[in-house]
């Protein structure tokens, strides 16, 4: 009995290690591991299975525009995207991704069903809706829908915003307003974001998850 206990774990690990399956690998830096495997085994720890994040600290990736994901992952891999969340969590994860893996990840998440709309807060997010659909002539803010789509679905390299995590939206708007160089194409959005007040940002962040 005693020898059985002593060797049980060694036997299990030797036998089971031989069953390693690349479709369930968590290896970063192995080009044989597919984007879907990485999404399920690694990315899901923050972004949720099928790109539906359970933490508002991390964005949903489901139904995100493939071109946008592709561009962000390349930028994170090359350390061009430098916002704190990007460097703390993503530089390491992205550092060894191949172009093919990035393309597979982008295609995988783009094909997933989008997150459901979040329930609206107590107050009707009217201000956010108006900013999104009409912009603000008074402050020279164009309608978000003009680039991000009337349903916030995004377009190519322009990200989907609909049903995104509220806290993530707020944080990224702040980055785009104050540190546009930290994100690719940040200067483009900075032209809009620097005209947004804190209240405007909160209004948009309240509306977009519920639209």
């Amino acid at each position: 009995m005693k020898p059985l206990f002593s060797i049980a774990w060694l036997t299990c690990t030797v036998l089971l290690s031989g069953c390693a399956d690349p479709s369930r690998s968590r290896a970063l830096g192995d080009p044989k591991v597919t984007g879907q495997a990485l999404a399920e085994q690694v990315c899901s720890n923050c972004h949720g299975q099928r790109g539906l994040s359970s933490s508002e600290n991390f964005p949903h990736l489901a139904a995100q525009q493939a071109d946008y994901i592709d561009a962000q992952l390349r930028s994170l891999r090359d350390k061009h995207r430098r916002d704190p969340a990007g460097s703390v969590y993503m530089w390491g994860i992205a550092r060894d991704l191949t172009d093919a893996q990035i393309a597979q990840l982008a295609a995988y998440y783009a094909a997933q069903p989008a997150a459901a709309a979040a329930p609206a807060a107590l107050a009707e997010p009217r201000a956010g809706r108006q900013l999104f659909t009409e912009g603000s002539a008074e402050h020279g803010v164009p309608a978000c829908a003009g680039c991000h789509g009337d349903r916030g679905q995004g377009n190519g390299g322009i990200p989907r915003l609909a049903h995104q995590q509220r806290a993530y939206l707020l944080r990224q708007l702040a980055v785009l307003r104050s540190s546009p160089d930290d994100r690719p194409m940040g200067a483009l959005m900075n032209a809009v974001a620097h005209k947004l007040s804190d209240d405007d940002m909160r209004a948009l962040a309240d509306y977009l998850p519920t639209m």
Binding site: R24, R26, E56
Partner: protein
């Protein structure tokens, strides 16, 4: 060793000036290190500490950190040199060192900066499914000879070597594996587990005997440096189950007690079963876990003698809960644990008449056949920008009164409480227990600073309302619980 030469000083000077000098020196060293100077798991994943540790404070795990652990430390790329180290420099200052026969022994190294402990880690990804966390720790104050000189010693610390896999199917996500480890609950991913709730290593000089790390923490009767094999599963990031058994380390698993002297080991009879269950939910920026564990064990009284007549029988059970709110730049963690340990003594320790007598010279009650210990421990901590943080904790150890646990009392020859070695029943000052009751309660406040993810500088102050069963005169020599209040200043460094 970082110990500084003695000089004439006030306690206040000792408590603050030297730590500050040391901490400034350590901080300067850390700033001089390159940004890549990070421990082995960080080198493996390329991520910052705060990806896995809440607010960057070791060892509190984030949801991602828990998954990294449960998937066998296999995320990332295998490192060329899978090694890391950590070291702790600290100073302890006990509020009252006057009520002692021998302050140099009872409060050795008080008010002096010491290199308290150092650990070497090996681990990380081995294969797609196999990974390890192996810690080997050096204690510069492991033993003391007759002249009072300390001798260092290195020995096996926490070890967790595991196989893990993850099945993602239609609507379900199952992480499962087996762990070979040497400490019950060391494989657990939550920091309310007994092996992980304590977050700053405990330096061993006697001046540190009252700091937070030495206050009652959850634990199991079997202790560490045993050999355990547990299987676990985590379904849909909700239900966690772990079950297995522990026994004495020997054979191919003897490395799990490497360096431990026999006197410091737990020797078990047969297998000690361990079961753990937890339910985890996540919403918004929050995660909540509620769980429990149970364990039974039979421990020989003397680890060098496997005599079935000397077995202590333990039944441990606990319930624990942890809430985390992690939304950059905030990291809040609330923890609570309640444990119950039933300890049945071997026959030769039951019904013994204590050597001490009551104040009138009458016999004390004979020793009880068993004891029950209950511990409630709660902690709240908050870190901002993974840089500044603080916490508070509460501990309350209670249990049955048993004359077997008295280490102070009236000597039958003199009718006094005395430490004289010539007495028939000498008592213990400072650590003595006059009542035979374990009640120890108090709180700890802490503030810390992480100027760099490799370095944490902190100060703790621990207050006691009761110690060894009493608020006042717990040792029979007039020492009060509050005399043990302690300041602990530390610099924790990892590379």
């Amino acid at each position: 060793m970082l110990e500084l030469p003695a000089r004439t000083r006030t306690p206040l000077e000792s408590a603050y000036r030297r730590p500050i000098a040391l901490l400034v020196a350590v901080a300067a060293t850390a700033y001089a290190l390159p940004a890549s100077a990070i421990p082995v798991f960080n080198r493996q994943t390329g991520q910052n500490c705060q990806a896995c540790h809440a607010g960057g404070q070791y060892p509190e795990l984030t949801p991602y950190g828990r998954m990294f652990k449960l998937t066998g430390y296999t995320i990332g790329r295998r490192t060329d040199v899978p090694l890391a180290m950590m070291a702790l420099a600290s100073v302890s200052s006990v509020r009252n060192t006057s009520k002692s026969d021998d302050p140099s022994a009872d409060f050795s190294k008080n008010d002096r900066v010491v290199l308290a402990s150092a650990s070497l880690f090996a681990g990380g990804r081995i294969t797609d499914n196999l990974g390890a966390f192996v810690q080997y720790t050096y204690d510069p104050y492991a033993s003391q000879d007759a002249s009072g000189k300390y001798h260092g010693h290195a020995a096996a610390d926490n070890m967790d070597i595991r196989y893990a896999d993850r099945l993602v199917g239609s609507g379900h996500d199952l992480v499962f594996g087996v762990s070979a480890n040497n400490n019950p609950s060391v494989a657990d991913p939550w920091n309310t587990a007994a092996a992980w709730m304590q977050y700053v290593p405990v330096p061993s000089p006697s001046s540190s005997q009252f700091i937070d790390g030495a206050t009652p923490y959850p634990g199991y009767g079997v202790g560490g440096n045993t050999s355990g094999l547990t299987a676990y599963a985590f379904l849909d990031e909700h239900l966690y189950l772990e079950a297995g058994a522990y026994r004495s380390s020997r054979g191919v698993l003897a490395f799990m007690k490497l360096g431990q002297p026999t006197s410091g080991l737990t020797r078990l009879q047969g297998n000690a079963p361990y079961v753990r269950a937890a339910w985890n939910v996540a919403w918004g920026a929050s995660t909540l876990m509620i769980g429990g564990s149970t364990m039974r064990s039979r421990v020989y009284d003397d680890p060098s003698v496997a005599d079935p007549g000397t077995l202590h029988r333990f039944r441990d059970s606990s319930i624990d809960a942890q809430y985390q709110w992690l939304l950059d730049p905030h990291a809040l963690t609330l923890q609570a644990v309640a444990t119950r340990q039933q300890h049945r003594y071997p026959d030769f320790l039951i019904g013994q008449v204590p050597a001490y007598v009551d104040p009138q010279g009458g016999a004390l009650p004979p020793s009880s056949p068993s004891d029950v210990l209950r511990l409630l421990r709660a902690k709240a901590s908050y870190t901002w920008r993974a840089t500044y943080g603080g916490g508070m904790s509460y501990f309350d150890l209670s249990g049955t009164t048993n004359s077997l646990n008295q280490s102070s009392g009236y000597d039958p020859l003199t009718g006094t409480i005395t430490t004289a070695t010539s007495a028939a029943a000498p008592s213990t000052r400072v650590n003595g227990n006059l009542t035979g009751n374990p009640r120890t309660t108090g709180e700890t406040l802490e503030a810390y600073w992480l100027p760099w993810q490799n370095l944490r500088v902190g100060a703790q102050y621990t207050f006691y309302q009761r110690y060894n069963g009493s608020a006042r005169n717990y040792d029979g020599f007039g020492r009060n619980a509050s005399d043990n209040d302690s300041l602990f200043v530390y610099a924790w460094f990892a590379y």
